[in-house]
């Protein structure tokens, strides 16, 4: 597999000042080395302040490493001449859908990205239509984004990122503010883009249930990579997860507890329906 992103020994810290005007340094990420491959669906989890969003911003050169290196499709993000290509390669969608709408009509909002990178008018129309199709929002093209639900707005925000035709899509807690249906909509779109277009997806989330859709989970703790493995591998390290402020999904927690109590239950069960059916046979 080809590497989409290659991070080597990267460190980033924030420079600031305290109340008395003295410089203060706050850790962002430290000594991170990580490869993300093209077509992978990676979940990035960690407690608040663990460095997830810092890492996300380093991925498309919104921040530049203080030391170490990050390469996006072989392009060093610290090299200014790569900036344009990198930003085109890595699309980002953030947490609050309302902060990401720039136009008063859906199709114009989606067109904002391609317009900015100087795509010819004719192609913009095609790209906008394709992007809206991909997120299942084509029929809303002429509507006002402000009247959509949270999930729909996030889908428009994703379409806006897709119109740039990125190879990597970063969803930085894009489901945090949504209702259950909205969350499902966003996850479904991400899964579809990953499967059908082989798009690399980096999903940052606090919902451990959402981790299940990924091929690989990266757990950050205090700016460093604490774990890196499949959802199953990660969930098996429940005690460590708890220690760093995370917890496994409830169904997983119950399955593991029952297994260690001696029940004939696969400790890797992740689906509550499967666990429920299994229990019905055992009791």
């Amino acid at each position: 597999m080809n590497e989409a992103i290659k991070i080597t020994d990267m460190t980033y810290f924030y420079r600031g000042y305290d109340d008395s005007g003295l410089p203060v340094i706050t850790k962002g990420v430290e000594n991170v080395s990580l490869d993300i491959f093209q077509g992978e669906f990676v979940a990035l989890v960690g407690h608040n302040g663990s460095g997830k969003s810092t890492l996300a911003k380093l991925l498309n050169a919104l921040l530049l490493p203080r030391s170490g290196k990050i390469e996006v499709f072989g392009m060093d993000t610290s090299d200014k001449k790569n900036l344009f290509e990198i930003r085109k390669s890595v699309g980002m969608v953030f947490q609050n859908p309302d902060n990401q709408m720039v136009a008063s009509i859906v199709k114009e909002d989606v067109a904002f990205g391609p317009e900015n990178i100087g795509i010819p008018q004719k192609e913009i129309v095609t790209r906008v239509n394709d992007a809206l199709d991909a997120v299942g929002m084509a029929e809303y093209a002429d509507r006002s984004p402000h009247k959509l639900s949270g999930g729909q707005k996030q889908r428009i925000a994703i379409a806006g990122a897709l119109a740039i035709q990125p190879k990597v899509l970063v969803l930085d807690e894009s489901t945090a503010m949504l209702d259950p249906l909205g969350r499902r909509e966003v996850i479904e779109i991400a899964k579809k883009l990953n499967k059908e277009k082989n798009m690399t997806i980096i999903l940052i989330t606090h919902f451990m249930e959402e981790v299940l859709y990924s091929d690989r989970v990266i757990v950050l703790n205090d700016g460093e990579i604490a774990m890196n493995g499949s959802p199953k591998d990660i969930f098996r390290r429940e005690a460590e997860l708890n220690k760093i402020g995370l917890r496994v999904p409830r169904a997983v927690e119950l399955a593991r507890k029952l297994n260690s109590e001696g029940f004939e239950i696969d400790p890797d069960i992740t689906d509550e329906k499967v666990l429920g059916d299994k229990l019905c046979r055992l009791l």
Binding site: N48, S149, D179, L254, E261, E272
Partner: protein, 283 residues
Amino acid sequence: MPVVVKNLNYTYNPKTPFAKQALLDVNLTINDGEFIGIIGHTGSGKSTFVQHLNGLIKLTDGEIIVNDINLNDKKVDYLKLRSLVGMVFQYPEYQLFADTVKADIAFGPKNMKLPAEEVNTRVSEALKLVGLNEEEIGEKSPFDLSGGERRRAAIAGVLAMKPKILVLDEPTAGLDPMGKREILQLMAKIRAEQNATIIMISHDMNEIYENVDRVAVFVNGTIKHDMPTEELFQKVKIEEYGLEMPAMAVIKKKLSKIGVVINGRTVTEVFNEIVKAKGGKNV
């Protein structure tokens, strides 16, 4: 005295082409000391409803009585109403503004024109209640706190007004699992120690299931269901409203069909009861 809402209707931008009926004949009585959950898809009227309770949205059609304050009266004492009903908005940490944590928390009680000594006592009590160390962080800038601490500091600002009724609009959104748990534990503590009524809006069905006694389900501006938590999730197909079943409720529903009735709602409670149900039988 309880909160009584009768035949409440509300329309945004009435008598304009943009008129939108947000609430439609809402009836709800909330008793003293109750912990009630309000759920529903985005745009179902939840926030519009709770904003009526402390007069942020002026009552236009219907009846609301909060304790001894009748919002239909010609002259409503809003200062009194707002110290009675504490409102914690979504992402309350964005509303922190003062130089120090203590000054921020003091803002509410100061506005209530309490004597300085009383303000100080209340600030200390509120900090203690939310589990923040006054010595350590009282003089810090709220912006130097971690995500979870900031949220708790913001909630302390509301608690310092000693509201009898506490309304929280998605108090755990955007927090990591440990941060979520801290906030929920805090709510249980507030309820136990202050005997407060708590009204919580949430999109997280698992946390609703584990924490509240009763749930009101908003669908398109009206309360479609209002019943004890367990009953709701066992009887009503809430997926139809774009919501999802809590993991433990799924398992319990399956088990009840084979005659195994589980009462607990948290993973640990359900686990203990399953072990007990298995009883003398060989595992």
